[in-house]
Symmetry: C2
């Protein structure tokens, strides 16, 4: 594979279609950057936009994003089911192909410093780009959300931002910018309106409680759909797999006599992950990524 | 999509590793042609080699193939479970991206004429490249295999080859060369040694008997593995799907109290087909091909 690409699955605290369209449009104009996918969720009140490109293009696209967010998104008036601390909540950089994690770490730090200076908001470097161990884990940085951060930022030592002053921006809030490996965002929706069911299943399935080691999970109420959701991040889908996540949620739901309504993959998913899922459900133990036509076309120089 | 590529999933009547290696090696040397995948089956005594390339590269690679086959494969001494009529049994050409079916038809006819002349064997043009309606269907051309063709070639009108004399080549036999749309070769193995079970399921599942319209199926004995197989070609996986094929075979097998042992995809499979399978088993009705990272990298010019 000759390609060297950085992926950025940016999380925004809005599901307003017009704002999202404007952001996508402006990012699409940036040379060296492509908007690969975007999707919004009304209940989460959140949007994920996935960019692909080089370091320079991505840095410019993130700047475009902050320009629109500054004008249009006010985190202090934001309501939503998902934990968040900023209008632009998370900006991760992920290497692909010949691209390196080091490059992504450098990009996160460069963009973080720039954003803190231009937009005067606290920036936390997370994941592989973290400067202190307490900032490696995004859910730790974001604990208690925007509201908690307002109270803590002056007085809790590990809430000091890595760039910018320890003062939450009135409308942008704060942002986590980082570098991380490929992640799969996978949600399973359950046919019940009792959010406790999703919360309890999430608690049992996530790695830190003894569940699947590389899975983060939360329970979310999907009010607009009259359902609840186990929202998961698979931090290493080769070790804690989508099949394990789906089947365990389905089985745990039986405790409550609740059935799965459906599932979602948010943003992009690597081909390797799909091949593993197909191999499981069709009992093809040796199905290979190299058997996928599009993979061959990407890999081969004919 | 800017790419224009022809795919050729060539079927050979051998599973001899050394011969296959030599063929793959020689084809790999041809400029403008890449060997994307190959796999052999001892019970079928058959090998599928998938090439990707342009018309010129593929024509040269097929010539290399016939050179080795002429030296190393003798169809008159061939035994195997799968219907066949030649050492090089089938050479299909399939368009991808901006490539057209017309180009593939022209290539099939050019290669067919060339091969008939150089190697003195009967060539049947099949699929979209067929010159007469009776030759469109490969299984009709190949009915009764090599042995039947020996008897019929002089005296049955639709067994006249499209190129070459009506005389079966002593070691190469005959070959079908054609143009066709993307096909998925999908086999389901059953935990029984009774080949009649596979044959009866194949008979019920295939389109011509009232089963799934775009599926061809045969029952095959896998002696070396002590199992039997329903071997299928999905001629349009968007209409008769892999999920339908797998689940129907599994359910039909219940009549005999027989379970599925596993399945195989032979050669390449399009990404769209995998996405449909994942969408079914994980209940993700709107999963999109464009959500696959590798698809984005192939499509986007960043």
């Amino acid at each position: 594979m000759e390609l060297a690409i950085i992926q950025s699955a940016i999380n925004l605290s809005t599901s307003d279609e017009k704002i999202v369209q404007e952001i996508v449009h402006r990012m699409s104009q940036v040379p060296g950057c492509a908007v690969a996918d975007y999707s919004s969720d009304i209940d989460h009140n959140r949007t994920v936009i996935t960019l692909l490109g080089g370091a320079e293009g991505l840095a410019r696209a993130v700047d475009e994003l902050f320009q629109v967010a500054l004008e249009k998104i006010d985190i202090s008036r934001h309501h939503g089911e998902h934990p968040r601390m900023g209008a632009v909540d998370v900006v991760p950089f992920t290497p692909w192909g010949r691209e390196t994690m080091e490059e992504c770490i450098a990009l996160a730090r460069k963009v973080g410093e720039q954003v803190a200076k231009v937009y005067s908001l606290p920036v936390y470097l997370y994941g592989e780009a973290a400067l202190i161990p307490e900032h490696r884990d995004l859910s730790h940085i974001r604990r208690g959300g925007y509201e908690q951060l307002l109270q803590d930022i002056h007085r809790v030592s590990d809430r000091q931002p890595d760039f910018g002053l320890a003062r939450v921006h009135p409308s942008l809030g704060a942002v986590a910018i980082g570098a991380r490996k490929q992640l799969v965002a996978f949600n399973v929706n359950l046919k019940t309106d009792k959010v406790m069911v999703a919360k309890q299943i999430a608690a049992r399935i996530k790695g830190e409680n003894g569940g699947l080691s590389y899975i983060k999970a939360i329970g979310v109420n999907l009010k607009s759909r009259g359902m609840v959701q186990v929202a998961m991040n698979l931090l290493d889908f080769t070790k804690s797999t989508v099949v394990q996540a789906y089947e365990l949620v389905r089985i745990e739901a039986r405790r409550y006599g609740v059935e799965v309504h459906g599932a979602e993959i948010i943003g992009l998913v690597p081909l390797e992950c799909l091949v593993d899922i197909v191999g499981f459900y069709l009992s093809i133990p040796d199905l290979k990524v190299s058997q996928v036509l599009e993979y061959q076309l990407l890999e081969k120089n004919i």
